[in-house]
Every structure is written in structure tokens, then in C-alpha cells.
Symmetry: D3
Subunit: 253 residues, 6 copies
Amino acid sequence: MDLSRIGWVEAKERLLQAGVALLPVGSTEQHGPHLPLGTDWMTAEAIARRASERGGWLVLPTVPVGASEHHRQFWGTLWVPPDVLRDYVIGIARAVASHGLSRVVFVNGHGGNTGALEAAARALRRDGIFAYVYVWWRAIPEVIAEVVEGGGSHAGEMETSVVLAIAPELVRRERYQEAAAGAAPEWGKRVHGVEVGYDTRDFSATGAVGDPTPATAAKGERLLAAAAEELDAFCRWLSAQPEDALRPPPHLP
Amino acid sequence: MDLSRIGWVEAKERLLQAGVALLPVGSTEQHGPHLPLGTDWMTAEAIARRASERGGWLVLPTVPVGASEHHRQFWGTLWVPPDVLRDYVIGIARAVASHGLSRVVFVNGHGGNTGALEAAARALRRDGIFAYVYVWWRAIPEVIAEVVEGGGSHAGEMETSVVLAIAPELVRRERYQEAAAGAAPEWGKRVHGVEVGYDTRDFSATGAVGDPTPATAAKGERLLAAAAEELDAFCRWLSAQPEDALRPPPHLP
Amino acid sequence: MDLSRIGWVEAKERLLQAGVALLPVGSTEQHGPHLPLGTDWMTAEAIARRASERGGWLVLPTVPVGASEHHRQFWGTLWVPPDVLRDYVIGIARAVASHGLSRVVFVNGHGGNTGALEAAARALRRDGIFAYVYVWWRAIPEVIAEVVEGGGSHAGEMETSVVLAIAPELVRRERYQEAAAGAAPEWGKRVHGVEVGYDTRDFSATGAVGDPTPATAAKGERLLAAAAEELDAFCRWLSAQPEDALRPPPHLP
Amino acid sequence: MDLSRIGWVEAKERLLQAGVALLPVGSTEQHGPHLPLGTDWMTAEAIARRASERGGWLVLPTVPVGASEHHRQFWGTLWVPPDVLRDYVIGIARAVASHGLSRVVFVNGHGGNTGALEAAARALRRDGIFAYVYVWWRAIPEVIAEVVEGGGSHAGEMETSVVLAIAPELVRRERYQEAAAGAAPEWGKRVHGVEVGYDTRDFSATGAVGDPTPATAAKGERLLAAAAEELDAFCRWLSAQPEDALRPPPHLP
Amino acid sequence: MDLSRIGWVEAKERLLQAGVALLPVGSTEQHGPHLPLGTDWMTAEAIARRASERGGWLVLPTVPVGASEHHRQFWGTLWVPPDVLRDYVIGIARAVASHGLSRVVFVNGHGGNTGALEAAARALRRDGIFAYVYVWWRAIPEVIAEVVEGGGSHAGEMETSVVLAIAPELVRRERYQEAAAGAAPEWGKRVHGVEVGYDTRDFSATGAVGDPTPATAAKGERLLAAAAEELDAFCRWLSAQPEDALRPPPHLP
Amino acid sequence: MDLSRIGWVEAKERLLQAGVALLPVGSTEQHGPHLPLGTDWMTAEAIARRASERGGWLVLPTVPVGASEHHRQFWGTLWVPPDVLRDYVIGIARAVASHGLSRVVFVNGHGGNTGALEAAARALRRDGIFAYVYVWWRAIPEVIAEVVEGGGSHAGEMETSVVLAIAPELVRRERYQEAAAGAAPEWGKRVHGVEVGYDTRDFSATGAVGDPTPATAAKGERLLAAAAEELDAFCRWLSAQPEDALRPPPHLP
């Protein structure tokens, strides 16, 4: 149930009954030569909608640009400073809470957003608004381990499978080889245990991390289903908590 | 041509050739009992896409939540502070310019956003990024005067017609009467020439301004076509300007 | 009754009885070759004082520099960023309210200040301080239509008449012709409905908009009297409102 | 020569020739029961104008409200946060410098402003704008020692004399006794060398520090003349410096 | 070589020759009932000094309070907001760079600081200052796996061993059992893959994570030596890089 | 009693009993060629600890870098902007107060910090946290007058004596002559009563103010003892005050 698609009369009913609001937060950033720039926001939106179909959670409009400055050397990457992303989602969450629905899940499709979203959640909790950050690939490690044969955290087999499931017409299969040729084996570049790869281009020539070749739409469907199921389960838990269980614990006596 | 739907290889080509980028900026806010909360962002997006179909301008992902605090008493309205909206679109425009495309039009679907967008444009111009605010209903006064029989600036005949053209399934025609009964005849509430209506609810019981009853999809199509045509014409003008003509004039000698 | 000219003993009495405080806010900016840079703050101050003479409203000290960056290419224009102006008047209004007088009118002499003043008023209302923006020329459209023969919103017949009434010794009549020669016929520069004139110098060679030649002190007196009368009427209305009528309306049930 | 009173044609000439701009910065705050709230801005303005009469320095419009929160318990005191005052004068100084006059003296009439003004000056110097803080009573200690019989730094003999010279009609001589009865002997309240008097009311019942009774207009004239003379002398020095002498010294080799 | 302990004459020599500056950043926060609140800053300082002994790197004064709000329910925990920590270390790094030493390692003793330090490093890199975040336990996973028998990331065997090596007099061995009894087995509290433990007290009754009992000073020495060695190795790598290798890569052609 | 050296169990007891917390705030900045850069934070720490030994006040970890930008031309000087220092100590003081100890003394070792610390104290007082700025040399003028033969406020006889008492191994006596040769006789550089010496290097070639030659450890001990005694006396006073006596006085009736 998308908030954008209903009027205020229906919104009243949904806000009072939904229990949890889902805010998809993604990015518009390079995903190798073969995946669309909107991969992350499309994925976040797809997972949120599928979870909503299961549990009736209220889906807020998707935040399409996030903290992606580290991809900026690649054509088309958009970004805002992390503090601006934080303040943007804080604004939205406060607004939702003003209508009586104070439990929000940031359905996050981009790893680079996580710090800003956690900072937002922490700030909101001080005001009695209970926001949580759902990073989909962190929630389903077993399924990923089972489904994904190769690896690669960015524009690799996992993300390519997901886009094949969501919007296959946007995947350029003819560029898999090019993507893989310049891909990094894993995220980042460490020297004596220190991360020195501040920008993706520090360690990946094509922007990809991992080989997309083994990706299939069926794998993507499996991942999306698992992610949506887990998100739905979390929302059930969240909506069932008494408010006191969500509040920060008191100071030690 | 949506930036979100292409990869960085195509993005390079588009960024270097498009001449102008369009950033749809809307809101998620009450639009009377009969129109969806996403009316403004859907409209901005629709106009940007139609203009892009005409002139090939690059369409950036839609900013769905804006400066709508004055609608906050109505269920479902979302908002961010104007400064946050300003900073969010500044971030996006700077990112686009970093890829060599420094002419951006904010395609604005919500009047309350205008001040923040103008402030963004002014700040960007200082750094050689040329952003302009396209407020669609300001660009086509003659067509509006011709098409719209009644009046009303918010959720009235004009906006209802547009949504009937874009997404008729989201319009609740059975609520027109309810909307009109509580509607304000015009925007705001002035006392001795001073605007004292800070919130929509100060002057409208249902959130609407004007009667939606005369709305038709055909009128909406006419408005959208005119708005897209005018936006396309503006983009042609903008892309044809030499950069010096866009820069601030120098100090008087 | 100027607050600056009384001590705290008298101030107590005035603060508790005045009902409304007036804060003149102007600018120091070019007004064509013939009018003084202080035109806007002098006008705002004059109107506030005349209204105070009628109704006994408390006049706060004049804020002399505002949001005039768009005039910066002309010699002598001063400005502060809009956010700074907003915070400056917020500070003053909060201080007045701390003494028990929580109804304030920003008597605005410069159109460029309006957005910042409205933002201030909106922020103050959240804290139970009721500020309103009085833009004098918006309050008396009929009188202006009747008195002003030509037109021009900046340094034209209207403003020149006002300065002739307030401080005729500061008007350089011998420069009327020069002003008119380079004046714009109206404010701004629109291309396909988009405002592209970010700076006054984008559309006016001398900084004036309209021809000052038909200006007379008598017209100026008429305008000032009307503006003061309307402001006084607004203050009467404001001081008569119960506080609940000024508060934001509650959320819809 | 007041900038407010001339048009941009004259302003050009003055900006290019004046050498130094003077920005009077005062406050609107309690000055005991006998002096007007505007004492500080009136004094700063008077000294700036007198110095300008001597040396032709360009006088900018007076900033009437400053950092006076510590007087807030007394009726009528206005204030803005120190950071806002700092940003306000930074804006004005940058504007003046944009017209080619980059030497500015903040003529300060209120001790509480000094920190904010120094912070502004320091920030401006980083950008090649040379601002200095002239605190009038610090510049003429010998004259003060000679003229002032009693003492008291706030609303005492010294300030009362000055207002008697500037605006005798605003001095309530019949309240001298009341002022003196509740006055503090000196500013602040120290305990074991620590200042614990955060607010004036922590140590003064009437807001005055020192006894105003020995004040005379003649003493005030003497003080004003000396302060203006010293300010003029400083401006001569400042305008005579080569720019390199004003820049921060380079890092040690 | 501590910068604090030398004068500016020696500092010149060290700044020009050291190649890398080390800024220990820690926290003052609860570390179970048995470890001192200063554990993290003492550890960071100890590692920095030991690395400096090996390679002569310049040690800056220790930042003792960091982003520890999540420990606030435990007596004595101090913290500053993450943005303030970020700005504080940015200031210090800029200052060091102003003296010609533009390579800085934040030697981080507290996991909660990492996001703020990375944000600082990213901001500094934009200005040609090359800062890196050394999180000591991330740099020596093999040694930790070898040395630490049990586990626990906070006030467990690992940290207790380190404090036993640095300052054994501050360890309250008689409280090990109490610490272990209320300790969490691992950091955080996840529900369906979502971190819901915003505060340490959400998942640990005593503030500890893991059992300190197996800790020994010898283990601590081993950990410190390894961490210092790895940090020294990183500094050698860093100081040997040509500046171009540290700059962000250029935009894709 | 250093907070850093105890665990949370002891901290509870100390926080509830100490009555006052001491936060040493210093700087890392040039102190002539003969004194260490850490002079100010070492001094502040030493005084706080000695006072704590007398009265049992709780000593917080030392803030080692402050507002020292004006020393930046000298090798090794570190600094943060004053606003960042202010926010850093505000954070710490709020944290202490969250544990029930809301009386804090900033034990300040660097004159340049004073404005920022006072601003912090003022902000904290609004929230019922009572912070005071102890500037040690201001608290013991008689002892200084008695002990110090020459003069000089920075790296002169007084400060050199103190470091001789605290850390004699860090004093380079062989550089006294060099220090004195380039020293300024007193702080700053005034022209017609205006401070024009924004940077120390504007008036001192070696960074010193005054001649260190007459310094002795015995003098230093005397100064430290007096400063600690006075601080202890202040803390006794502070801890004995009823909370109402510390709150801001109410508005005048």
C-alpha cells in the first residue's frame, strides 16, 4: 500500500492501522557497465512493496538519491552529503510520526547510506520515534550463501540477479564480460588492515565488484522473496512490541 | 530518458549530449479527499518525461517529498524543512554538474517548494551551475485561463484534471462533492492585506481550494501537453545559450 | 512610540499594554541613480511610526540591511544571506516575546526580504510567538492603482513618491531621465514562463524599474497614509484576537 | 557621510575614495531606569558620524540589536545570539568589500558585542577583508580617567553623560537616585576569581553599574569628541597602511 | 615523539621529517565493572606511542572523549555528538597540515568513533590532507584469533588483556565474575537481521561483552606489540607513497 | 580523582558525592622556543589535580587542543575553531550532568579559549547545568604580583616557572636568551586603542611575551599551589550553593 497513491481519507485509516511504515532509501549510482544507475532504489522499493503485500505495511515514497560520493568518478552517479540524507529522512519520519505512526523502517538498498540512516534513527529515538535500518543483504546471509555461487557485493552476481528479477529490460547482458574484466574481487582496498580505498575507482576499473555472469532472474526472485519475508517478519515483531520495549533503557540505578 | 534506467556507459553519452537535466521535485501531501497524496510529484514527473520525449533532455530521479509543512494537519502529509529540501537538490545538481552537465531545471510540482528551489538555484549559480525553477502552472497562464472553467489552485479543477490524465484510477470521483463543500474559494486568508493563513487548514476544511467537479482527463491532457511543450521550449533556449550569457552580470564599472 | 527611546521602566508599561510590536525591516540597496540606498528601511520605519501614532503600537529599532544580494552589482548595495536575516529577526521577536508581548508585525520595506521573514514567522509560531509579515504595497493595491499613474516596482514612480514625502532632500530629481532611460518596464526577465533574471542587472541597466518622473510628494503622502492606516487596522485586528485564534489549527481528527 | 543617504552614483565615488567604512554596532538593552534602551546604538552612531565629519569615512547603517542576553531580565532588552550578530556583520562587511572597500571598523557601543565582532573580524581577515573592532571606552582611558569622577561601566556617570550630550530629552534625571540606590559598584560578581554573574541582574537590582548623578552634558561632549578623534586617528592609520601590512604574517620559515 | 612535549623549534624539525602524524582518538566510557572508563583512549595512546618508537612518527595529543552516547546509561560515560567529534579531529588535522605535514592517521581506540573519523578523513581528502582511520583490532585479526581464547569485543578478554599490559593497577580483577555474569555473548541485538540494540544496555547488564577471566598481561603485550607493528608498517607505506597516489582518482574519461 | 582511571561502579559513587567536576581545557600551541607546546593543557591538568587532591573534586579527562589559531604561524601549533571547542565541552558537560553531577568547572589553561568556554557555560545554564570558567591567572592576581618579578603573559617568567615545577625536563633553559630577544614586552599590538595584533606573530618574533629568565621551579610551585587552593575554594563555594542560587534570576516583575 503506497501512501502516494491514496488520499488523506484513506491515509488516516492506513496510518492508524498499519503499525509500521516502510521508507525505501536507495541511490542513483554506477553499478558497473551492465546495471542501471537506479539499481539500489529500485531494489529497496521492490522489497518494501513485497513486504507490504505480505503484511499490509504502509510504503512511503522512495528516496532515490543517497550517500554515493565514493562512486562519483563514474558517469551518472548522483549523491548528497550524508548529513543531508540524514536530515531528509529525519524530516519524513517526523512527519509520519506526527500522524500517529511512530514506527518506521528505513528499507535500505545502498550500503553507503547506512551510517546516515543509523544516525537518523538514533536522533529520532530521542524524540520517541522508533526507526530501524533494514539492510536487506545483512538480513538474509544464509539465503545469499545458498543462492549466490560467486560473490561480489556491488554489481556482481547478487545485485545483477535482483535486477534481472525486477527489471530485466534494464540489464545489459552483453556487458557482463566487460564488467567482470575490470571488477574488483571484493569491496575496498586494505593496506595493513587500513581501508585506503575511499573511492570505488581506487579498486575497481569498471565499478563492479564480482562477476555478474552467474546471475539469473530466478536467483533474484529467491533473494527478493527472502528479503521481503524477513522484512515482513521484522515488521510483525516491531508492531507487536509495547512502546516501552522500544524506548531507550533508563540510566542504571 | 531516465538516468535511473541506464548504466554509466550510456550515462556518459547522455550527460555529454543532453544539454539540460530535468529534476522533477514534488511533494507527498494532502490534495483534498479525492486526489492522491502523490499528486505533485506524479505531475512533475509526468511533465518532465513528456518534455524529455520531445527534446531528449535527461530526466533525473524524482524528489518525492518537499516543503509541505503547511498541510501537516491533514492525514498523510509528509514534509522536510525547506533548508533540507534546498540542500538535497543542491547536492543532486552539483553531482550532475560534476559529470559535465551544468544546466539543470527543477521541474516543480508544488508551490511550497518554490522558495527553497530558488535559494538552491541562486547558491548553485555562484559555483557556475545554472539551475532554473520551472513552476508549471506559472508557465502556461493562457492555456489555464482557456481550459479551466472554475478555478482553485490546490486539488481543484486544474490539478484534478491533470491526475485524471496521468492516473485516473487514483481519483475518487465520489468525493468531489465532499471536497467542494469544504473547499476554500482561493488560496490563503488575508486580513488587511496580510497573509494570516499559515496552514491550509486555516482556510480550508477539506484541504481543497476550488471545486474539482468540472475536471476532465481531456483538460488534463491539454494542460500537461502545454506544460511539457513550454518546458521543452525553455530547455531549447537554455541549451542554446552560451555559458557567458548565463553567468551573473559583472559589477557595474 | 520607539522602544529605543524609553527606559526599562516605561518599557514595562508599553510592553504590557501595546498589544502589538512593529519591527521595521528594510534594506540598504541601490534604488536607481536618483534615490538613496536607504529607501527601503526609511520607508518601513516611516510606515511603522505613522501606524504607531494612530494605534500606540510599540516600534522596535529598524533592521537596516536585508536580503539584497540580487542588487549586488550596483555600487553600495549591502546584504546578508537570507538565513542570517531570518535568524536576526527571530532573535528580536523572541526577545520581545520574553517580555510578554508575543504579537509582532514585520513591517517590510523590501520584497527580497519576504521569504526570510515568512520563514521566521513560521518558526516563531511553533513556539507560540505570533509574527506576521506586512508588505506595505501588497496591503494597498487599490490606493496604488489609483495614485500611481505609470508603474514600476523598484525606484519607479511609487517609491520615488514615497521618498519625496519622507526625505525630499535625498531625491536627485536631475537624474530621473537617466534612471528612466535604463529602467526595465517591469520586474524580472521571463523566458517561456521561467524567471531567469536572478540579478537586477540582468534586466535593468540603471537599477530602476519604471519611470520616476511622475512622482510627487503628495502621492507619496497618500501612499504612506494608506499604508499606515492599513497597518494600524491590521494591528487592531491582531491585538483583538484571542490567543487560540492565532495558534495553528490542530491535526484533523 | 551616511551610505543610506546617497544613491549608487555617489556611492561609487565614496566607496572608491573613503578608505575606511565605519559600521556602528550597538544594542537595545536596559540602561538603568534613567537611560533609554537605545543608548548603545545611539552612542556608536554618534561617534561614527563625528569621526566621519573629521575624516570623511563612509558610515554604514547602524546595527541596533546585539548580544545582550545577559540583560534579558530587564523589560525591553532585545538580543540576538552572538553567532547571529557575527554573521550579520560578516554579511555587511563582505558586501562593502565587494564594492572595493575592504577596510571596515566596527564601531562598537556595547561590551557584550565584542567577542562576536572579533570573531567576525578574524573570519573576514581570512578572506582579505580587514575589519577592526573599535570599543570606544577602551580607546580613551586617559580622557575617561580625567573626566569621570565616580565610575561605573554601565548606565553610570560615563554613559549618562554621553546620552546627555546626544539626546538629553531621553534622560530621566528624576530617576538618578533610584538608579544609584540599586546600582552595583562595578561590573560582575566574582567568587574566588571566577565570574559567576552571568546576568546583570545577578549583581545589580536596577541594571545600573555606578552612580549617574555626577553626569553632565559637557562631560559627554568631551568623551564623544575624544572618542571620535581617536577613531578618526585610527582610520587615518588604517587607510594609510599598505595592504600587505594588514595581511596575516606568513608562517615561520 | 609527543608533539606536546617539544617546543616549536623541535616541532619544525619533526613536522618536516616525520612523514606521518598519529592522532590517538579514544573515549571515556564504561568498560564493565572491572576496567577503567579511560580504557579506549589509553589503548589508542599506547599503540600510537609504541608505533612511534618504532618509526619516529609524530604523536599528537590524545582526544579523550568520543562518540559513546550508546553507553550513556552506565555511570561515568562521557560523549560528544559524532559531528562534533568529526569537526574536532578535522580541526586538528588541518592544523597539522598547515605546518606541512599532510598525512595523518587517526589511531582509533573506540569502534563507535569510526563513522565520524571516516567522515573526517573523507572531508580532509577533498582539501589535499590525507587522513586514514586505523582501527587497531581490525588490523590484526590473525593475532587476535591466535591470542584470544574466548571472545567479546567490549571489556572482554581482549580489552582486559590490553589494560593489564598498560595499566594493571586500574584493573579490578575481583569484579571479573560480576562482569561476566551480566555480559552479552556478542555485541548488539539483532531481530530478523536488524540491529535493534541502540544502546549497550539493550543487550548487556554490566556493560561487558564477553568474559574477561582469561585475560593476561602477556596477551595484552602481544596484542599491543602486533597492533603497533602493523600501524608502523602502515605508516611506512603511507610515508612512501607519492602524493599523487593518495589523491582521489580522476573522473572516468 | 581522575574519572578515566575508575570503572563505572566507582564512578557512580564519585559522581553522586563529588559535588563538582573539573574539566581541564588547554591547548597545544607554541610557547616560545623554550617551552613545550603542551604547556597550557599540562598546566590546567596539574591545577585541576592539585585542587582535586584537596577537595576530592572529580577530574575529567583533559581537552588538549583549543582555540589557538592566532599562534598558527609557529611550528606545531594545533587548533580547532572556537565553535568546535565550545560544542566539544558542551557535549562533555551534558554527559556529566546526565549522571547527576550538574556543576562543572572548566579549568582553563589558555586565554584564547575563554570566549568559547563562556559561551558554552551560558548555553549550559539554560538547561540547568551550571558551568563556570576558571582562568587560573585571573584568580590569583595578588600571588602573581608578589611572585613574578618581570612580567609577560605568554611563555614568560610566569608560565616558565609553572612548567619548571610540573615538567622541568621539558624546559630548554639554553633558549631563554633567544626567547627573550624576540619577545614582546606585553600581549598584543594596539593602535589608537584598537587591537590590531590578530596573530601573535604580529607582535612577537619568537612567540614569547616577556622574559623567561627569572623563572624558577619554586615560583612555579607557589603559583600552582595558589591556583589550586583558589580553585578548591571556589569548588567548595559552588558545591555549597543551593541549586536555586545558581539558576538565572527571574525576569523583573
